[in-house]
């Protein structure tokens, strides 16, 4: 029995006296004739958050959420029930509800589960809530605020938040696999409002990952977030109206990789492709990007926000090639969609909690570096937009149309980034946009660890990244028509 499984059992099974036989019996109950897959997902989650606003750390929250989700799959049918009580009788009740999709009911015998083998964890099974004294957390928030305020007298408002979660999960599958994971996650955000001559603008920056809270005090990260938030806000004070219309766009490294997440990532999730509802359906082997583009979804990067030692179905995460030198190579899969499509799971089966069904979801999605100097990329553009920071994005996977909103951008004129322009939404067509990538930089960067992806009402932490890239033609949604 691996150490992770022992630790998980202590949190999940021992408090109510649940034992392996309860699991075996429950799985046996679900695996009635016609049911071809079933799993139990146990979760014990502790979360904590602190917020500073108007100079005062005036709120803090602590919470516990626990429960078990029980799922049965018969062909394309899924039955699902959950309980916030982790007891033998609650498990059997949920199993009865979940197997109701089957035509007839007959308990299979008990199904034994065993440790799926030792995975090398991609992060420490630490408790980020206890990784720092409460007094120090409050002190850290105050320090960050002070740094932001002292940078410039134009800084009028500072809000700082600090959040930590420890998620202990265990998956028991009808094929006998038992797997566990302990996932720490921390995040800090700094947001400022600056004012000058009656004009107000905002800037924000944050970061985090699968660490303890001391991550923010190392290498003065928290202070850097404050400086970056103030810098962005001050840049925006000078911003002019953004242009409207189609133009050449250069995207900076790191967070602008949200382009990949929206433009192609969602469209390559297995469920949409099994159903044929994605604009990328049935296009494996086709060219969907310029030959300079190679895009991966990699859940195996150590300590990253989007990384997972195992996914929420017990499958080890992977580095999956989505696009290789412009050619569409593969989809991201969970157990059900992989089986129905005759493909292998890729470790992308994720769920928001025990009370939600797993789906194929992204982990860390990024484009590999090319060989262009980023300065050369900007210098190559006569007239266009250079966008370096973004807010959120969204995609319609059926029509392929996607948007993402810039929060810091500059005009490019005669090969030089000139004055800043106000934030604007960029809109494009997923299967087309990467075919217009004409230059790829050598400066791959991943985001700082704040990404949240929403799908069907479920949120999960993700990462994105890319080098500087040039796109020959993307619609920029400003207000200045030329």
């Amino acid at each position: 029995m691996s150490e992770l499984i022992q630790l998980a059992q202590q949190s999940l099974w021992h408090p109510t006296g649940l034992v392996e036989q309860d699991i075996s019996r429950t799985l046996g109950k679900i695996m009635t004739p016609g049911v071809d897959y079933a799993d139990l997902y146990f979760q014990y989650s502790r979360h904590e958050s602190w917020a500073l606003d108007e100079g005062t750390v005036k709120s803090g929250n602590y919470g516990i959420d626990q429960g078990v989700g029980v799922r049965a799959i018969a062909g394309e049918k899924t039955g699902f029930a959950y309980s916030d009580e982790i007891t033998g009788s609650a498990l059997l009740d949920a199993a009865t509800a979940a197997r109701s999709i089957a035509m007839s009911y007959k308990d299979a015998g008990a199904i034994a589960v065993r440790d799926g083998g030792t995975m090398v964890p991609l992060y420490q099974p630490l408790d980020p809530l206890d990784s720092m004294q409460d007094k120090e957390k409050v002190e850290l928030l105050r320090q960050v605020e002070q740094i932001a305020r002292q940078l410039d007298p134009k800084v009028k408002q500072v809000t700082v938040s600090l959040a930590a979660v420890q998620d202990t999960i265990m998956v028991a599958r009808a094929d006998g696999l038992l797997a566990a994971d302990i996932r720490p996650l921390v995040r800090m955000n700094v947001s400022v409002i600056v004012e000058h001559n009656g004009r107000r603008e905002q800037g924000s920056m944050g970061g985090g990952g699968r660490f303890g809270m001391d991550y923010f005090t190392q290498q003065d990260r928290a202070g850097e977030y404050a400086k970056e938030a103030v810098r962005q806000a001050l840049v925006n004070l000078d911003a002019r109206d953004a242009p409207a219309g189609e133009m050449t766009v250069v995207l900076g490294p790191g967070w602008p990789g949200i382009l990949l997440h929206e433009a192609i990532g969602h469209g390559l999730e297995g469920d949409f492709n099994r159903k044929g509802t994605s604009t990328f359906s049935g296009r494996i082997g086709e060219t969907v990007a310029s030959s300079q583009c190679t895009v991966v979804d990699d859940g195996t990067i150590r300590d990253r926000r989007g990384s997972l030692t195992i996914d929420d179905e017990g499958e080890p995460s992977q580095n999956t090639v989505l696009i290789e030198n412009g050619v569409l190579k593969g989809y991201m899969q969970d157990q059900m969609n992989a089986r129905l499509m005759g493909m292998k799971p890729t470790g992308n089966g994720r769920r928001e909690s025990y009370a939600h069904l797993p789906m194929p979801r992204m982990t860390n999605t990024y484009m590999l570096p090319g060989d262009c100097d980023p300065n050369e990329i900007i210098a190559s553009v006569d007239k266009g937009l250079y966008a370096v920071n973004f807010g959120g994005g969204q995609v319609d996977i059926t029509s392929g149309k996607f948007v993402f909103s810039a929060s810091e951008a500059y005009r490019i004129e005669n090969g030089k980034a000139t004055h800043p322009v106000k934030g604007a939404t960029l809109i494009g067509n997923g299967p087309e946009v990467l075919t217009r990538v004409s230059m790829v930089g050598n400066d791959l960067a991943l985001d700082s660890g704040v990404g949240v992806c929403g799908k069907d009402g479920q949120s999960v932490p993700v990462g994105v990244g890319q080098p500087t890239i040039r796109i020959d033609g993307l619609t920029v949604g400003g207000v200045s028509v030329e």
Binding site: F80, D134, G392, T425
Partner: protein, 452 residues
């Protein structure tokens, strides 16, 4: 302290459990030295079924409960939540909140709502109509809904299915000033989503209905037909030339403009000076035809409540009268920060309504616009509440002489919300009542459209 207002319904056993646990939590908080405490609890249950190509795709059984507690030690506060209703878990939850309050800082504006503002009347709002919906019945309704959509036209090539869901439950808010407010509610929904066209020209759309009482739900076949109509009309979408045009927001997306208004006149945006409508009370922010008001006591409506999340009585009131901003959207904390009184909006606005300025619906609005753009879908999050700058992705239709000519896609609409509000010319009578923001289609005289 002594008078305990109760919601005037016979209490069932689950609800008496909520009341007992709330008392336990409040007593624990007082024992720990808290000078004030409040508890929000809820339990609910339901079923959701999705059918795709006539076959069951998912059957989900939901059963949820939650407890959140906030404690005050003079002006320091802490909060905690749990899903475990056992006495020991509830006590540890309160203890955790008290522990947090040891580290947060004094903030003179922190505290429970003023006792004299708490609700004392609990009119029957008719929000609770549980539906004893079994799985077979739910599957059949979802099948009828999806089939009606698929039967409409051969150009419908694929489907994401038809769905039925039904949920009901109770919520309790209790505080150490003696307030106990219990509310029950139910919600039932029918929805459908299909795809028309093939390959690069696929289009998807959806429709849904959602009600407190299943007897008020649109028949499943009607939801299916409307889904098909909305999806088919998108086929053959073109790009649009960049320029300034008048724009109509179709009723289902027009509510988003009202939510941007609420963000800007919300107490927390105002005291942080994070709003483009700072100090705008008394100012003309819309044209004189516009009235926007809250109707918290509307029977069977989506956003109805007789008290807010702090127990404060909700009020029927004008927010905008003849285009002038009358009042903000405040809770106790933000109102104290601003030196004002709470408006009973802890947790949000209740049935925010923009009155129609026309007798007719979308047709009349299209005639009034003549030539321009009808927007039926918005995507992305390009709204900056600090500056009012607005830029979102959209899907819609090109309109000439009041007639829809063809669908358009892959464009953005942009402007500044301050200008956009002022240039709302008309509001149609085609009110979307499914959500808690109630508005008909809205015509704005000019927005910048970026396309090709």
């Amino acid at each position: 302290m002594n008078n305990h207002p109760w919601h005037p319904v016979p209490i069932d056993s689950q609800e008496s459990t909520l009341l007992e646990i709330a008392d336990l939590a409040l007593t624990r908080a007082t024992d720990k030295g808290a000078t004030g405490a409040e508890v929000s609890m809820g339990h609910g249950q339901g079923i959701s079924v999705t059918v795709r190509r006539g076959q069951v795709e998912t059957v989900e059984h939901n059963r949820d409960k939650s407890l959140g507690v906030t404690v005050f030690f003079e002006h320091r506060s802490g909060s905690a939540d749990t899903t475990d209703y056992s006495a020991s878990a509830v006590e540890s939850c309160v203890d955790a909140a008290c522990n947090i309050a040891r580290f947060t800082e004094q903030d003179e504006f922190n505290g429970l709502a003023e006792p004299d503002l708490l609700a004392t009347e609990f009119p029957e709002l008719d929000l609770y109509h549980p539906w004893d919906l079994d799985m077979e019945q739910a599957i059949e309704l979802a099948q009828r809904c999806e089939q009606a959509a698929l039967d409409q036209d051969k150009r419908i090539t694929n489907t994401e299915g038809g769905s039925i869901s039904s949920h009901h439950g109770s919520e309790l808010y209790a505080n150490s000033n003696g307030f106990r407010g219990l509310s029950r509610s139910s919600r039932h929904s029918t929805s459908c989503s299909v795809i028309a066209g093939e390959g690069d020209s696929m289009q998807r759309d959806y429709w849904f209905d959602s009600c407190r009482d299943r007897n008020d739900l649109m028949p499943p076949e009607e939801v299916g037909k409307e889904t098909a109509r909305r999806t088919l009309r998108r086929l053959g979408a073109r790009k649009i030339r960049t320029g300034d045009y008048p724009v109509i927001y179709e009723a289902p997306v027009a509510g988003s403009l009202m939510s941007h208004l609420v963000s800007a006149i919300n107490g927390s945006s105002l005291y942080r000076q994070a709003s483009f409508l700072l100090d705008s009370k008394g100012e003309q922010i819309f044209n004189r035809k516009i009235r926007i008001h809250e109707q918290p006591l509307l029977k069977k409506a989506s956003g109805s409540a007789s008290f807010d999340n702090e127990g404060v009585a909700t009020k029927s009131r004008d927010i905008v009268t003849a285009g002038v901003l009358n009042d903000y959207v405040l809770n106790s904390y933000s109102s104290r920060k601003l030196g004002l009184q709470t408006t009973g909006n802890a947790g949000g606005v209740h049935n925010l309504t923009i009155d129609s300025t026309l007798k007719g619906g979308l047709e009349n609005l299209l005639s009034q616009m003549g030539t321009g753009l009808l927007v039926s879908e918005l995507i992305g999050f390009g709204v900056n509440t600090v500056t009012g700058d607005y830029s979102r992705g959209a899907f819609g239709f090109w309109v000439e002489n009041g007639k829809i000519e063809y669908p358009v896609q892959e464009f953005t609409i942009a402007g500044n919300l301050r200008d956009m509000f002022m240039s709302i010319e008309a509001v149609g009578s085609d009110v979307d009542t499914r959500r808690s923001t109630r508005t008909g289609s809205i015509l704005i005289s000019k927005l910048t459209v970026a396309g090709e």
